[in-house]
C-alpha cells in the first residue's frame, strides 16, 4: 500500500507557508520583521517558498538598535540582495535623536525597550496592517498561548484575555481601521525544528551561530561580546573564549556560551542535549518572571 506521509518538518513547513499565503491574501500591506537571527532567516526561506516562482510580495523591516554585530548586518544585506526584497530599517537612534524616546541612563543601558516605540512608529509610518514575526511558542511561557494571527489594538497592544479563538486552519484577519495584526508563522516550531530545517534546506546562517574565538566578558552567568557599547566595571575584564551564540540580537544583552559546535549537525547535537533554554542567555528576560508578558502587552515582537 502506498503511504501518504509527511515528516514533522514538512508538516510544519506546509503550515507556515499556508500562513504566509493567507496573510498576503487577507491584508493590504504586510511586512516581515527581520532581525537577522536564524528564525527570521528561516521565515525568509518560507516566504520565498510560499510565493515561488513569484517574488515575496512584501518588504522586510529591521528594527535596528544600533548595537549590531557586524556579521548580522553584512549577512542581512546579502540576503536581501539574493531575495530581491525591499528592506526598511527603523533606527532606534533616529527615535532618540528626534526626542521621541530617551536612552536609559547608566553604564550599560539596554535599548531593548526602545525597540517597541521604534517598531510601532515604523508600522504606523508605513501603514503596515500585518507584521510577520519569528516568535515561537516554545521560547517562553507567555508565548505558549499566542495565536498565529495575533490581533493588536490601535496602540499596538496585545490583550492576552481577549484573543480570538483560532480553529482548524481558518485564520480571521478582519480588523478595524488603525488596528493591525502580528502573525507568527513559526508558532509551532521549536528551536530544534528550526535547526533541523536549516540543515535539511542547507540554509546559510550568520557565522555567529557557529563556535568561534572571541573576546568576551562574563556577566550574570553569560558571556557578552566585546564591543564599544559595553562598559566594563572595575572587577570585569575581557577574556578570549571559544563561544557561539544561540540567539542573535542587541550586542549588549545577547549572551554567548562556550561551545565547540562549528557545524550545523554539531549544533543540532548540542541543542538536543542542552540543559537551558535559548532565551536563558538573554539578560533582558531575566529581570522578572513575567518580563516577556509585560513587554508583549506593550507591543514587543
Amino acid at each position: 500500500m502506498h503511504l501518504y506521509k509527511l515528516n514533522h518538518i514538512r508538516q510544519l513547513e506546509s503550515e507556515s507557508i499556508h500562513i504566509f499565503r493567507e496573510v498576503a491574501a487577507q491584508f493590504e500591506n504586510p511586512v516581515l520583521m527581520f532581525s537577522g537571527g536564524k528564525d527570521s532567516i528561516t521565515m525568509a526561506r518560507l516566504a520565498q517558498k510560499a510565493f515561488w516562482p513569484g517574488n515575496i510580495p512584501f518588504p522586510f523591516l529591521h528594527v535596528d538598535t544600533g548595537h549590531n554585530f557586524d556579521e548580522t548586518i553584512e549577512f542581512r544585506d546579502q540576503l536581501m540582495d539574493d531575495l530581491g526584497v525591499e528592506l526598511i530599517v527603523a533606527h532606534v537612534q533616529d527615535m532618540i535623536d528626534s526626542g521621541k524616546v530617551k536612552e536609559p541612563k547608566g553604564p550599560n543601558p539596554s535599548r531593548n525597550k526602545l525597540q517597541i516605540p521604534t517598531l510601532l512608529h515604523a508600522l504606523e509610518e508605513h501603514g503596515f496592517d500585518a507584521a510577520f514575526g519569528g516568535a515561537r511558542r516554545d521560547e517562553e511561557k507567555a508565548r505558549a498561548k499566542e495565536r498565529f494571527f495575533s490581533h493588536r489594538d490601535e496602540f499596538g497592544q496585545w490583550d492576552p484575555k481577549n484573543q480570538r479563538p483560532e480553529l482548524w486552519n481558518l485564520y480571521n484577519g478582519r480588523k478595524n481601521q488603525g488596528e493591525h495584526f502580528r502573525v507568527f508563522p513559526l508558532s509551532n516550531w521549536t528551536e530544534m525544528d528550526v535547526w533541523q530545517y536549516i540543515a535539511a534546506e542547507d540554509i546559510d546562517i550568520p557565522s555567529l551561530y557557529l563556535a568561534h574565538t572571541r573576546d568576551v566578558v562574563e556577566r550574570e552567568g553569560t558571556y557578552l561580546a566585546k564591543s564599544q557599547f559595553i562598559t566594563l566595571s572595575e572587577e570585569e575584564e575581557y577574556e578570549e573564549k571559544k563561544i557561539r551564540f544561540r540567539t542573535i540580537g542587541d550586542m549588549t544583552c545577547t549572551g554567548a556560551f562556550q561551545s565547540d559546535a562549528d557545524t550545523i549537525p554539531q549544533i543540532i547535537e548540542e541543542v538536543a542535549s542542552a540543559r537551558i533554554t535559548e532565551r536563558g542567555n538573554r539578560t533582558d528576560d531575566k529581570k522578572a518572571e513575567a518580563a516577556m508578558e509585560e513587554r508583549k502587552k506593550q507591543g514587543y515582537f
Partner: protein
Amino acid sequence: MSTDKNEAQKYLDMDLLRFTTAGSVDDGKSTLIGRLLYDSKSIFDDQMEKIEESSRKKGDEYTNLALLTDGLSAEREQGITIDVAYRYFSTPNRKFIIADTPGHVQYTRNMVTGASTANLAVILVDARNGVIEQTCRHSFIASLLGIKHVVLCVNKMDLVDYSEERFNEIRNEFKTFSSKLDIPDIHYIPISALYGDNVVDKSDNMPWYGGATLLYTLENVQVDSDYNHVDSRFPVQWVTRPQSTEYPDYRGYAGQVAGGVFKPGDEIIALPSGFTSKIDQIQTFEQDEQEAFSPMSITMTLEDDIDISRGDMIAKPDNQPTVGQDIEMMVCWLNKESLDPNGKYAIKHTTKEARCIVKEVKYKVNINTLHRVEGDKEIGLNDIGRIKIRTTKPLFYDSYKRNRKTGSIILIDEYTNETVGAGMIL
C-alpha cells in the same frame, strides 16, 4: 562529519502527533503534562529553577510540576488555566504538539479550539470519581471535532491502592458511554501522574496491567490514515503570476491540499466555473513533485488557461464536493453575545470568504448528557447546537465527518470582527 550527518538525518525522519488534553486542575492534568515534559527531558534547567523558586515563594512543599504549564500571570494568580496553551516535546521518533485546554464547562470553547487541530485526545479521569459529567463532555467534544483516537487515563491510581477492579469498573463505564460516540480507537491506561506510574515508565505498582504506557501509546498510534486521501480537494489560496522575464506567462495556483491526491496529468474540474483541464505540474520551491496530498502546500499549473481565483476549488470531475448555499451544521458558540437566531455573520470556509444568515436553530445539545435541550434554543457562550444557514455565495464543501478541512467553517461578527462560532458541516 559523516556521523554528524547521520545524526542530523535521524531527526528529519520523525513524524508529528498533535494531541489535546482535557481535564480540570483537580484531575492532575497539569501535573501529567509536567510529568511528560519532565520525564521526556523536555524541561530545561532554567525553567526548572524558575518553578522551584515559584513553588518556594508560594510555600508549596514540593516542586509543583503543574507550574510549568501555567502561562499568563492572571492565571498564575488565580491558579487556573483559562486559555489553550501549546506545549512541545519530542522523543526520538516523534514530535508532539500538545494543545493544553482547561476542562470546566465554561471553557468548552477552548476545548473545541484545541481539539480542532488534534489527532488524538488524552482524557483524564480521577480514579476515585470515575466517569463523571465532565468526562462525557470531553469525549463528546473529541467525537464532535472528529478526533479518531482517545486515550482515557485513569489517574490517581495511587489513591485507590492501584486497584485493578476499580480500573476495570471505570473502563466498562466509559465503554458503555462511548458506544454512543464516534471514536474508533480508544485506549485505557491506569496512571499516577504524581508518581509517574505508566506515564513514561511502566509501573511496578500495577503488575496486572499488561498494556502500554501513555508515552508509548502516544509514540505509536498511527495517524497518517486519518487524513482524507480519497476525495481530492484543493482550495485555491493564492494565484502566482510572477510576470518576470524568467516566467513571463506562468500562472500557478497555490494552496494546501485539503484532501485526496493530485498528480501531474490528472484531469481536474475548477469550481464554481465548472471548467475542466489537466494538471501540468505540481511544484514546491524549485522542485517538481510527483504527487500532492494533504496537508502539503504546493503550487499547481494547468494545461489550459482557465479563470481561477482565490476561494475557488479544484477537484476531480468524478469526485466533486457538494456545492450549495443552504448548509446545516453543528456549531459551538465562542462568544459572550449569543447567536442571533436571525443574524447575519461573515464566514470563512477553506479559502473562501462570504456572509451568511441564520435560518433556523434546530436544537441545542446538553453537552453533558448528549440529549437535546427541550424548549431552549438560545445558543450562548460554550453552547453547542444544530443550525441551518444560508450563504451569500455557494460553498464547495464535504461533511465534516468526511473531511475536517472542507467541512469546517467559522462565523465572524461583522461589527466586532471576533470569531464567534465554530461550525462543523453535517
